[in-house]
């Protein structure tokens, strides 16, 4: 399945595969904005913090697409490393772990970057595969329905969108030409990131549809939909 035409900028983009599209509008963008993005992501979200705190001491978990390691893309992953977490570079659709390995799994603000329902479904099934039976899995995705206090408000008819990330110019490589012309204002560089914005119940339905986990709790927090799921015990 490809991205709906409404969000595409040119006819050329129609022929891009989901992978290429995600590379261009997700991976490459995070590579560029990683140092700035990391500086802006330091406050843990309360639901995530509460989830992590209720786990028995000594639990081992995977944070898939771990951003800057606020809780537990190659550039982003190196930032995780410097904070002392165990990190690796991998593809969320094809995780390198043995099945039934982890006491818990979290995926914060990752699944919404996959550009087809099949790929979002695959990504969720991978989270369940690496979790142990009865392990809890916490998933957050960005909501189409934003609270009135959110600085983003989305068109309720379009779930597949590009969201700009404005990065101040000084975060980029120094550019000699900038200083040559003092009259020219320094502008932010804007990067567009691809998102699939989730509607109410959409994440719950995807999870139930896998048949691999039960929903323990779900809700809305900080303009995201979240689900805490528990992996079923299945006899192989």
């Amino acid at each position: 399945m490809s991205i709906p035409k409404s969000i595409l900028n040119s006819d050329d983009d129609v022929n891009l595969t989901d992978e290429k599209k995600e590379k261009q509008f997700v991976h490459d963008v995070y590579e560029a904005i990683a140092p700035h993005f990391s500086k802006t992501r330091y406050k843990p979200w309360p639901v995530v913090e509460a989830f992590l705190k209720q786990l028995p001491s000594g639990s081992i978990g995977a944070d898939v697409g771990c951003g800057n390691g606020k809780y537990l893309s190659s550039n982003l992953i190196a930032i995780c490393g410097s904070k002392g977490f165990e990190v690796m570079i991998c593809d969320a659709l094809n995780l390198p772990y043995r099945p039934d390995s982890f006491d818990f799994v979290i995926s914060i603000a990752v699944i919404h970057h996959f550009s087809s329902i099949e790929r979002r479904n695959m990504a969720i099934m991978e989270l369940f595969r690496i979790a142990k039976p009865d392990a809890q899995i916490l998933i957050y995705v960005w909501a189409l329905e934003q609270s009135s206090s959110s600085r983003r408000q989305f068109d309720q008819d379009h779930q597949d969108v590009f969201v700009p990330w404005a990065m101040p110019v000084q975060m980029n490589k120094p550019d000699d030409n900038i200083d040559d012309n003092p009259n020219e204002k320094k502008k932010d560089i804007v990067y567009n990131r691809y998102y699939h914005l989730f509607r109410k119940n959409e994440l719950d339905d995807l999870i139930i549809g896998t048949g691999l986990a039960d929903i323990v709790k779900s809700g809305y927090d900080k303009d995201n939909w979240y689900v805490i799921a528990k992996k079923k015990r299945i006899t192989h």
Binding site: G81, E86, M88, P96
Partner: protein
């Protein structure tokens, strides 16, 4: 990458489903970094370990402190000396540089500056 993580990794090239664990280490540089000793964590973790794989991997690095077979004693009674040796191997041994090769399909996963790169080529997924 610590050896505890290595014990959880398997090759994930498409169609590589048997004999894909453990990934074989070569050209390894590793460091020891002290970290807090938590005996209860280790006791909880021992049943999840693939013991033979851990012993073989440690041997590859010249570490011979682990017994070939897990002690028969119940987990809560495992002695402190054993747990300390295990702590050293699992949690304090950090692989900084090297390669991990799948014993089945021979795919090589590089480790650079402590971070394994587990990405596959397009034709491998």
């Amino acid at each position: 990458m610590r050896l505890i993580t290595h014990n959880m990794l398997q090759c994930h090239v498409k169609g590589c489903n048997t004999n894909n664990f453990p990934l074989e280490l070569s050209e390894i540089e590793y460091e020891l970094q002290e970290t807090e000793f938590n005996p209860q964590f280790l006791r909880n973790f021992v049943p999840k370990l693939e013991w033979d794989a851990l012993v073989r991997t440690a041997m590859k690095l010249g570490i011979t402190t682990l017994p070939d077979k897990l002690p028969d004693t119940p987990i809560q009674e495992i002695d402190e000396k054993f747990l300390k040796d295990l702590h050293r191997v699992l949690l304090e041994t950090h692989i900084q540089q090297g390669r991990m090769t799948c014993p089945n399909c021979q795919h090589v996963y590089p480790i650079k500056d402590g971070i394994p790169n587990m990405l596959l080529n397009e034709n491998e997924v």
